[in-house]
C-alpha cells in the first residue's frame, strides 16, 4: 500500500495511491483511519512531506564505495565501521517531492546528492530482536541527504553541511510492502543516470540498525531512519533536477536552485 500526504482543493490529508489516482483517507496511517469517497488524479494534487519525524535518525557511512569516497576526501584510509552507529539530522531541513533545494548564497559549488532508503517506524518499540525488528517498520520512502562538502570538512557535527534549510528532501510517499533484496537505487541528474547501486548492499542492514538503536532508544511511530548512500555525486548547480529512484517505491525529484546573494 502506498500512503501519500497531499493537498487538493486547499485541503491537506493522507491518501492511498491506486494507479494514477489518490483516494483520500480520514485520519492517519499510524492510528485510526478510513477511506472516504473523495479521490483525485495524482497529477492534480500537491505532494506534501509525508511527515515530520519526532526523532530524525540518519546513518552516515553504510556502503563501501561511499565510505571510500568520504575517506579519500579527508586524505585517509577508509575504516569500515565495526558496528551500526546512527546519527541525526535536523527537521528544519525537510522538504517534499518537487519542492526546490535552495543552495545558500554562501555555499561553495561542492553540493552533492545522496540517495537513501528511508525506513519509517510504525510502532513504539524498544529492545528489538533480530526476529521481531521488522515488526516495527511501517514502510519505506526515499531521502536525498544533500551535502555541502566544503562545509562538511569544516563543520563540527555536520551542522550546516547536512542540515541547512531544504537540504533534506523526503518522499514522495510511503510504500508499505517492499522487497529490500531486489531493490535498486538509481540516481539521475537532468534525466541522465549518474549512479546505480543495490539498495540493500549495506554494511549493516535495517535489522542490525533497529536492534542496536533500540537497545538505547525508544522508537516512535513516524520516526525515520535514513540508511545511507553509496557512490559519488557530481557537483550540482543552479537548475539541476535530481531524481532518486528506488525500485518498488518510486521517484523523489527535486530541483536545485542557488539563493541570490
Amino acid at each position: 500500500m502506498r500512503w501519500l500526504k497531499f493537498t487538493a482543493d486547499g485541503k491537506t490529508s493522507w491518501g492511498v495511491v491506486e494507479g494514477d489516482r489518490v483516494v483520500a483517507v480520514d485520519g492517519d496511517p499510524f492510528s485510526d483511519h478510513k477511506r472516504i469517497a473523495r479521490s483525485h488524479a495524482l497529477n492534480d494534487v500537491k505532494i506534501e512531506l509525508p511527515l515530520v519525524p519526532r526523532t530524525f535518525y540518519c546513518v552516515g557511512l553504510n556502503y563501501l564505495k561511499h565510505l571510500k569516497e568520504a575517506a579519500d576526501r579527508r586524505g585517509e584510509v577508509p575504516a569500515v565501521p565495526d558496528r551500526p552507529e546512527v546519527g541525526y539530522r535536523a527537521q528544519n531541513a525537510l522538504i517534499a517531492h518537487d519542492e526546490d533545494v535552495v543552495i545558500p548564497a554562501s555555499a561553495t559549488e561542492k553540493i552533492h546528492y545522496e540517495g537513501e532508503l528511508v525506513v519509517v517506524i510504525g510502532k513504539t518499540a524498544k529492545h528489538l530482536t533480530p526476529a521481531n525488528a521488522m515488526d516495527c517498520v511501517f514502510g519505506y520512502t526515499i531521502g536525498n541527504d544533500v551535502s555541502e562538502r566544503t562545509w562538511q570538512k569544516a563543520d563540527r557535527g555536520l551542522w550546516r553541511s547536512k542540515n541547512a534549510d531544504t537540504f533534506k528532501p523526503m518522499g514522495p510517499w510511503i510504500e508499505t510492502s517492499a522487497d529490500l533484496a531486489s531493490m535498486e537505487t538509481i540516481i539521475r541528474v537532468n534525466g541522465k543516470e549518474t549512479y546505480r547501486f543495490r539498495t540493500n548492499d549495506m554494511i549493516f542492514g535495517v535489522v542490525s540498525f533497529l536492534v542496536e538503536m533500540s537497545k538505547y532508544f525508544t522508537l516512535w511511530p513516524g520516526d525515520v531512519v535514513w540508511m545511507g548512500t553509496d557512490g559519488t555525486s557530481p557537483d550540482l548547480k543552479h537548475g539541476d533536477v535530481v531524481e532518486i529512484e528506488i525500485t518498488g517505491i518510486g521517484v523523489l525529484r527535486n530541483r536545485f536552485v542557488r539563493e541570490k546573494a
Copy 2:
C-alpha cells in the same frame, strides 16, 4: 511569566504559575490561548515536559572550564571554538522534571550531568541580526545534558552517549522574563552543591548563536537551543538526585537509577 505544562485530574494542559499555584490555560503559549477559571496547588500537579521541539539544537563546547575538561579527557590541548557551531540531540531522550534518568544496564559508571540554559524559540525566524535576534526568543528553561563519558569517547556522533532514553531532562517550566547577565547556574547532588557558574559566561552568547544558526536554518516556535555547560561532574550513581538551578528560572530535579541487567 512562567508557563507550565501539567497534568491534574487526568487532564494535561498548559498553565501559568503564580506563587505556589498554577492557573490553567486553554490553548498553548505559541498561539491563541486564554486563562480559564481552573487552578491547582503546584504541589498537587504532575509537571510534564514543556514540549517536544521540532528541531532539538544543542551547543557542545561553550564554556572555558568545560572545554578544558573535555580536552583533558581526550588527552588534547583545548582548542577554543572560533565560531558558534551548533549540534543536535534526540527527542526520544527527553523527560520531565522529577522523572527518573535511567542509566542503561550496559553503561559504565562515568555518568555525568551537564546543567544548561535552554532557549525556547517563540516565532518562525530566519536571517536574524544582532539587533532583532532576541525578538524570536519566547523564554528560557533548564536542561540536563546527561552524558556517558566512556561511550562519548567511542561513539560516532555522540549517538548513545548523549541521546539514550531519559538522558535529556528538561523543565520544570518556561520563564519568559529573564536577565541573562545576572543569572547563576548552581548544581547540587543529593542536596550538596557541586558546581556553580555564571550562566551567561559563554564563549558565544545567545545572540551570536541565533544569528549564526538562522543564516542556514529556519527557527520554529517550540524549537529549543541548549546553550552548553561549564565545569565538571562527579560520577553519578544509582539513587543520586541531581538538581540544576538557574536563578530567575527555577530548579530542574531528577533522580538517577540504574536499569537492571
